[in-house]
Amino acid sequence: MREDEVQSLLRSTLLPVDADVPARDLWPQVLTRIESRPAPHWIDIVLAVGVATLFALVPQWFFLLSYHL
């Protein structure tokens, strides 16, 4: 089977999507997206939980860390 045959089959399989413009005005969504605060990354959350747990288990480390900060 040649490339043009695969191409022909693919073109007959994938229907053209007839869409010139979005169905609604998306500008408000762009603004909302810009104004929203980014969600914290899961690594940051894990780190924060880890540090909080550490301080709960070994409170002395809090003062040690505070001293060095």
Binding site: M1, R2, E3, E5, V6, Q7, L9, L10, R11, S12, T13, L14, L15, V17, A19, D20, V21, P22, A23, R24, L26, W27, Q29, V30, R33, I34
Partner: protein, 177 residues
């Protein structure tokens, strides 16, 4: 399509919200059509359009106002579409599955289903070049520009995509009519 005026682009880079909205109004239809060609799903393309303009806003300081805004947006949109395909694949719901892209009348529905499934199982980077080059008839140079890769890379990806689809069809015993 007309290119945005230099003054408007400079204001956009400086963070002028009105300039950004003007650019959105002018370029969003073109960017949307480009994304729809890749994702072939209107709802997903709307989400991707919002994401693309958000990324453009976030990265506006890196934009050179003497360059083409249209080409810059197209590149961002292509990467957003690529990320969408990757995420859909990771979640196990490729967009181009057979029930969402029905076969055209007059074709063997089994072959169309098989090909749609084979297409959906292609890696996203091959899917993008396959749909743009083989289905939409975009030039290799245009695809290379949108992806930010050399033309040779696009040719190689088209070749690999075609080979994978051909292998799948041959394995199923499909012969050209």
């Amino acid at each position: 399509m007309g290119e945005a005026a230099g003054d408007l682009l400079r204001r956009f880079v400086d963070g002028d919200a009105a300039a950004f909205e003007a650019l959105f109004r002018e370029f969003s239809p073109e960017v949307y059509r480009w994304i729809v060609r890749i994702l072939r799903d209107r709802a997903a393309a709307e989400d991707a359009l919002v994401e693309a303009f958000w990324r453009a806003h976030r990265g506006r300081a890196r934009f050179d106002p003497s360059r083409s805004f249209s080409a810059w947006m197209r590149r961002i949109a292509t990467h957003v579409a690529f990320d969408h395909l990757k995420q859909a694949r990771r979640l196990g719901r490729p967009d181009a599955v057979d029930d969402r892209i029905p076969a055209r009348a007059g074709r063997d529905p089994d072959v169309s289903r098989l090909l749609a499934r084979a297409f959906a199982s292609l890696p996203p980077k091959l899917q993008i070049v396959a749909v743009l080059a083989l289905v939409e008839g975009q030039s290799h140079a245009e695809i290379a520009d949108a992806l930010g890769v050399p033309v040779g890379t696009v040719k190689s990806r088209v070749f690999r995509a075609t080979r994978a689809l051909r292998a799948e069809l041959t394995r199923a015993g499909v012969r050209p009519r």
